[in-house]
Subunit: 235 residues, 2 copies
DNA sequence: CGTTTGGTTGAGTGCGGTCAAGCCCTGTGG
DNA sequence: CCACAGGGCTTGACCGCACTCAACCAAACG
């Protein structure tokens, strides 16, 4: 099921944080030029194909990651072997915060679309954050953001009918986007996000398409009828 | 529905952190005697009756809280008005972490049992954490703990059949406890934790009682058959 | 080409939601 | 003291949504 692609194969260069295009919205946003000069270890960039694994649950958390483009899912397994997606990460999101606490990773991190990430040593962040109130604060903000997401998944994506959940997921995918167009995930993954089966997800998406709430403008690219989806989401 | 009890009525004294009985497991565990001397603002203790509200979603987050005894629920409302409990807080847990970021509270915090909390100004923690790597680290650990809880609620308490969810909730309530005895919540609250209706929760609990998985030793105090509940929880 | 993988659709069933009634306990007021 | 009301828990009857199992189709791929 999981294509195993070692990160080595996915290496795509060394990052230049100082001139990073995401500089203003990224974890290191608050750092000064002088701080960057204290970064001796290299910060590498990786490209992940859909299905590629960034890290496994239980792996030693030596690194943290910033998503540059694309989407990854964070997956946890249940005692009975079934899986549940507990969060997704997109551009500017940080992955592996638990590495700050010298903890192992808590999830499987798997790319859903073509994805680029920057990797940096957790030790580096630990050191910088001691002296750097801005980074310290930014870290807390990241944790809080993850917590907000987790709460929202519980209240919005794990509550109500399947129709409502699918609608809420769709709306969530285009929030804070300029366009209402979005690339969907596999029905299986969407099901694992919503706590419903693949078939139910497929049926619901198909129904939305028939009702014109969802228009496929290109293969696997959909335009959303936001107002009507919102009606369904709130019921 | 919500009994409104102002915190003023619930005031039960001024805390003595240095000699706190929870000192070793609490947010301020890492502080030195010298640090405490820099705390000028008073740290107050409060007693909450079941149903009493500690803070409301949207209130200014000027304070953070440590739970001394008892249990509180953190509640979020859905667009349609129904409520979902996203977490519970028990002894040594910290409430209102979002106040660190000068954010408003994100939940309703309501006591489920008789509860005692300590209240301290968020500003105090912000200041202390600048200079105090231990506290800094402890804060991150608290955030991570909350996140772990959130993930577990999603995978354990919002997935699977109602029987499984109820069993998992019960097991969760006695984890890391010396005894397998525990005080349950109202069926309505348990339902709001599990994403099922009050009736389904009631039926399931009643069935567990008939099957001897749950023995009522005193009014609303239950002894759990952990091994068999675990069997149900895992399938 | 056949094979595989993901999406869709169908038929049947059962779990859990809904609506409603009844029970027990507590508190309240006549 | 009893009558009554109210809230929380339980139980019943009914129904419908979503799960299960299965077939089928289209696109991708060797």
């Amino acid at each position: 099921m999981t294509k195993t692609v070692s990160l080595k194969e996915a290496w795509s260069g060394e990052a230049n944080c100082l001139n990073c295009s995401l500089r203003t919205s990224v974890l290191f946003a608050g750092l000064q030029q002088a701080d960057f000069e204290h970064i001796h270890e290299p910060i590498d960039q990786f490209s992940l194909k859909p299905g590629a694994n960034l890290y496994h649950a239980g792996d030693r958390g030596d690194y943290m990651f910033t998503v540059r483009t694309g989407v990854l899912k964070l997956v946890q397994y249940l005692p009975d072997g079934s899986q549940r997606i507990v969060r997704i990460a997109r551009a500017t999101d940080v992955l592996g915060l638990e590495a700050m606490l010298e903890d192992n990773y808590h999830h499987e991190a798997v790319a859903l679309h073509a994805t680029e990430v920057c990797r940096f040593p957790a030790r580096l962040v630990r050191e910088l954050s001691q002296a750097n109130p801005g980074l310290h604060r930014e870290l807390m903000a990241r944790w809080q953001r993850a917590l907000n997401e987790a709460d929202a998944w519980l209240t919005e994506l794990s509550t109500g009918s399947a129709r409502q959940r699918v609608a809420r997921l769709l709306l969530r995918l285009v929030r804070d986007r300029e366009t209402s167009e979005c690339q969907l995930f596999s029905r299986e993954d969407m099901g694992a996000m919503l706590g419903v089966t693949t078939e139910t997800t497929s049926r619901t998406i198909a129904e939305f398409k028939r009702q014109g709430l969802l228009v496929e403008t290109a293969p696997n690219l959909f335009l959303l009828d936001i107002p009507n989806l919102r009606r369904i989401a709130e019921d």
